[in-house]
Amino acid sequence: MSHGRLASAGLLLAAALVLAALGASVLPLGSPTAISKDLALRGPTAAEPFGMDDLGRSVLSRVVHGYRVSLGVAVGAVLLALLIGGSLGLVAGYAEGLAEQLIMRPLDVLMAFPAILLAIALMSVFGTGAVLVAVSLAVVYTPVVARVVRAAVLATKVEVYVDGARALGASVPRLVLAHILPNAATPVLVQASVLIAIGILVEAALSFLGVGVRPPTPSLGLMLADGRGFMLEAPWMVVFPGIGIMLAVLAFNMLADGLRDWLDPHHAGGRS
């Protein structure tokens, strides 16, 4: 597949999932939370292609509603990290010297832990819930974003057009916002897409492990945790939520790959 097509396929898939998540309540799906005893553990049918769970809830409806949490947490975390990490990286890259050291060295400490371990440790302190998962993820992502932005700023600020703007008397905020920041956008965009993909995985993992989203909120990770107890009688309870997670992660990874190859053919790997 060519890079342009990979990016568009990823974009299409991601857009479809986001739309489904946003429109979950108007789509012709059963209730994600209504319990029905006589439907419990019923296999896939034409009306309910993903089957029913142990409480007789529609797995399809729960997967679609689960995307709200998955995508909401992942996108929210990335936006928060872009805001905080982006500003820190911008200042560090532009100022250099002492300010850079004061910003980047503490962030190195955050990056010195495996991402999932740091997220679990943060959740253990602050408790569970979707908002806290997003905040924890944002903490994990902040140093990643800061590094990417700082590197982009360092590379951009020595360009001739920046010198030119400075010589013409542009103020520092104008230099940074109008001349440096737009050129840092490419690597940041690619990184943001990768981080959304990882965020979907980490949210599902945390919820699966019992330190993420709280029931009865439909979350793909929680569905897998519940389904584990029934996987012999009702394999659809673990098969479909897993495929659901994979599709969402794949969409954002494809988007990132396509964007990366399209915008910057000489890229060399990021944190995963």
Partner: protein, 317 residues
């Protein structure tokens, strides 16, 4: 002294403040737990005497800097205090469980390397061929499969349905080597797949990069066969980025072990961490997070140094 050793020394020098910062973060984080940590640790079993004993044992009445220094000094000696739930030294518990986590990580690293590197090499060697398509597909799909879901699916298909592998539990290698390896096969594969995907991608990219260099084209012009070209000229030059990324993946697996050990009920440090988090057993959380974090950092440091020793260009940075 040669520049390689200067470089290694400098990296080591940077690791010390980093380790210090990590300990400060872990210590500080655990002090952010809302409420009285003594009550949180003891839970519903909290009695006034129990709380007093715990406050004393962890010196919770001392000023924070003093508490921190005391904790750091003991932790540096491998003494993490007593686990109040199991009444066992935490350091001992970690040492007992560490071999499981290390074995899992090593097996998974070997698996990831054996799966990812050859695929990337073949793929990059003949761009657009079948191996290249496979490397590209694995690179994309492999990193998108949730490892905990892969583990569940493998248990369902290969353990419960086919009965080929045990679905969990752990037998020490020293007691029954064959049973141990059979039991570790699925967990190691689960942990390895996404890392194999990363390695396949990277190897492919590194090979493609080297293939474009002048000396490769020269060797080809001299009439050297494709296979000899790949093995003798391309692989040694592509090896440097591959080794680096393999090192980073080993570190990553230490985090992934938390998830995989939980699914396959392996008694490792990862599972110990999660259990402690779920029980709000903060002294244990604090210790295991620091130990896993330090291991992660050391693996990355070793990779960094190795990279510098192999490739003289890195040292100048």
């Amino acid at each position: 002294m040669s520049s390689a050793w200067v470089y290694a020394g400098r990296r080591l020098g940077l690791a010390v403040p980093l380790l210090f910062g990590m300990s400060l973060l872990v210590f500080g984080l655990m002090r952010l737990v809302p409420g009285d940590p003594a009550v949180a640790v003891l839970g519903y079993k909290a009695t006034p005497e129990g709380i007093r004993a715990l406050r004393e044992a962890f010196h919770l009445d001392e000023p924070l800097p003093q508490q921190y220094l005391r904790w750091l000094a003991s932790a540096a000696r491998g003494d993490f205090g007593l686990d109040f739930r199991q009444n066992e030294p935490i350091g001992r518990m970690i040492l007992d469980r560490l071999p499981v986590t290390l074995e899992l990580t090593l097996l998974a690293s070997a698996g990831a390397a054996l799966l990812g590197v050859p695929l990337g090499l073949l793929g990059g060697g003949r761009r657009g061929g079948a191996a290249d398509r496979a490397a590209l597909a694995l690179g994309l799909v492999g990193v998108s499969i949730p490892d905990f879901w892969l583990g569940i699916m493998l248990i369902l298909a290969l353990s419960l349905w086919a009965g080929l592998f045990p679905s969990g539990g752990f037998v020490p290698f020293t007691e029954a080597p064959l049973e141990n390896l059979l039991g570790m096969a699925l967990p190691a594969f689960t942990l390895a797949l996404s890392r194999a995907a990363v390695l396949a991608r990277l190897t492919r990219a590194a090979v493609l990069d080297v293939m474009q260099r002048g000396f490769v084209q020269y060797a080809r012009a001299k009439g050297l066969g494709e296979r000899a070209l790949l093995v003798r000229h391309v692989l040694p030059n592509a090896a440097i980025p591959i080794v680096t990324v393999l090192g980073l993946q080993i570190g990553y697996m230490l985090g992934g072990a938390i998830v995989v050990e939980t699914i396959f009920t392996l008694p490792g440090v990862g599972r110990m961490t999660l259990d402690a988090v779920l029980e709000r057993n903060y002294p244990v959380v604090q210790s295991t997070v620091l130990v896993i974090g330090a291991l992660f950092m050391l693996v990355n440091l070793a990779t960094d140094i190795l990279y510098g020793l192999i490739d003289p260009r890195v040292r100048r940075r």
